[in-house]
């Protein structure tokens, strides 16, 4: 797993690359290093898959939008006599892609970070307990909400309540799913808060279970990232 301090410093480097980057090589090199490092650590291609999932709704549409559709750019070439290709549009798309690629790459890094470690790291860095509780409760609750939605949807179908086909029927079914989900979760507020206080929340200082620090390999990747950023700034 990636450690949170490494993910956060690499996020800063990625932001630097997106803001100050001019060439196409640096963001691509940065992405290759990050994806390669994550894949070696996890010993599978999951990180590469996540990266493609992230870029798929962005890269093909922007190339299509500006390289073919955008009439603000002149047509340079007509492919098969009916597809206008606009080089200026493609160049504009390339700039936009280079700007966001490092950010998407950081998304992949954070996917590989252990959430428990994030909490420990935040405690070590003296983040306010309110922020830590807010994020940790929300992260755990998202999973529960998704499960409740699935269960409610199945229960509605089992009872023969119409949840489609047709847009109108699906919209009508919406409150039948939304309300049980929300009321279910809001009911949890009371006992969760009392449970937290009973377990000593707010009366003592939060202590991390383990101290999170950078690994040697992470320091090496971090130095490479810094060199890419410096190269982009200097040359």
């Amino acid at each position: 797993m990636i450690t949170p301090p490494f993910a956060s410093v690499m996020t800063l480097i990625a932001l630097g690359l997106s803001i100050f980057g001019k060439t196409i090589i640096s963001p691509i090199l940065f992405c290759i290093i990050i994806i390669f490092y994550c894949s070696i650590l996890s010993k599978n291609t999951y990180s590469a898959k996540v990266f493609f999932i992230y870029i798929l709704p962005f890269v093909p549409p922007i190339l299509f939008m500006h390289g073919i559709l955008n009439t603000n750019f002149p047509v340079d070439y007509v492919l098969w006599n009916f597809i206008p290709v606009r080089y200026e549009g493609l160049n504009f798309s390339r700039k936009m892609i280079c700007r966001v690629l490092p950010i998407f790459c950081c998304g992949v890094l954070w996917v590989n970070v252990d959430r428990g470690q994030v909490v420990d790291w935040l405690i070590c860095k003296h983040f306010p307990a309110t922020v830590i509780i807010l994020f940790s409760q929300a992260a755990s609750m998202v999973v529960l909400i998704k499960k409740t939605i699935d269960n409610t949807y199945l229960a509605l179908q089992a009872r023969g309540i119409a949840v489609g086909p047709g847009l109108l029927k699906r919209i009508r079914a919406l409150p039948k799913i939304v309300i049980p989900v929300i009321s279910c979760r809001l009911r949890e507020v009371e006992y969760r808060s009392i449970v937290l206080v009973n377990r000593g929340f707010g009366t003592t200082k939060m202590i991390a279970i383990r101290y999170v620090k950078l690994k040697t390999t992470e320091i090496m990747v971090f130095i490479t990232g810094i060199m890419i950023l410096l190269g982009e700034l200097i040359f």
Binding site: M65, M141, V142, L144, L174, T203
Partner: protein
């Protein structure tokens, strides 16, 4: 006297923790309810319902933190693109607090109007991000309208503002209406509790 102090201290602590958990739940609703749109194949996302519910249950500063935190958490859980829309979520939070304060979620028409206004605010705030950072690409529905407008000869900014206004208005009107139904069912609307 000492026992009273202890009791009051604990009461304050429970209340503070309750607000924290409630914010966490509203934050999770912002992120998790998108799944309903997926399974019902609805054309709108429901990423603001949590913020609107929070504005009727929580103090304004908690609502703003729910909005900002939604973007941060969504960027870790769903897609890094959400981090750039932190300003949009805060603007939605501010406008929903104002509408709840003026009892605008008490009838369906008022809720739809509030949703429309929230949609316009959201479109205005998110358009610069879509145009400058993403070159006109956003959620698929907005991107499709943007592409259509660009192909018709409009400039990037005109297309992005036009596309965002159309899609966000419809989306947030739906979110406003759903929030109204939820608030009615939960009987937590400010005016009805008075």
């Amino acid at each position: 006297m000492n026992d009273d102090n202890k009791f009051n201290k604990r009461k304050i602590l429970v209340e503070r923790t309750r607000l924290m958990i409630l914010s966490g739940i509203c934050l999770a609703l912002n992120i998790g309810l998108g799944k309903i749109s997926n399974i019902l194949s609805l054309p709108f996302t429901m990423d603001t319902i949590g913020t609107i519910i929070a504005s009727s249950l929580l103090p304004w500063y908690w609502v703003l933190s729910v909005g900002a935190a939604s973007s941060v958490l969504a960027s870790f859980i769903i897609h890094p693109i959400f981090l750039f829309f932190i300003g949009t979520q805060i603007a939605i939070g501010i406008s929903s607090v104002i509408f709840v304060r003026y009892d605008m979620f008490t009838t369906p028409y008022k809720a739809l109007f509030s949703g429309l206004c929230i949609g316009i605010v959201s479109a205005i705030v998110s358009s610069p991000v879509i145009a400058i950072v993403f070159g006109g690409i956003s959620v698929p529905s907005i991107s499709a309208v943007n592409a259509l407008l660009l192909a018709s000869g409009k400039s990037l900014w005109e297309s992005v503002i036009g596309g965002s206004l159309v899609v966000e208005s419809i989306d947030k009107m739906a979110a406003g209406y759903v929030s109204f139904i939820i608030l009615q069912r939960l009987t937590i609307i400010k005016s009805s509790s008075n």
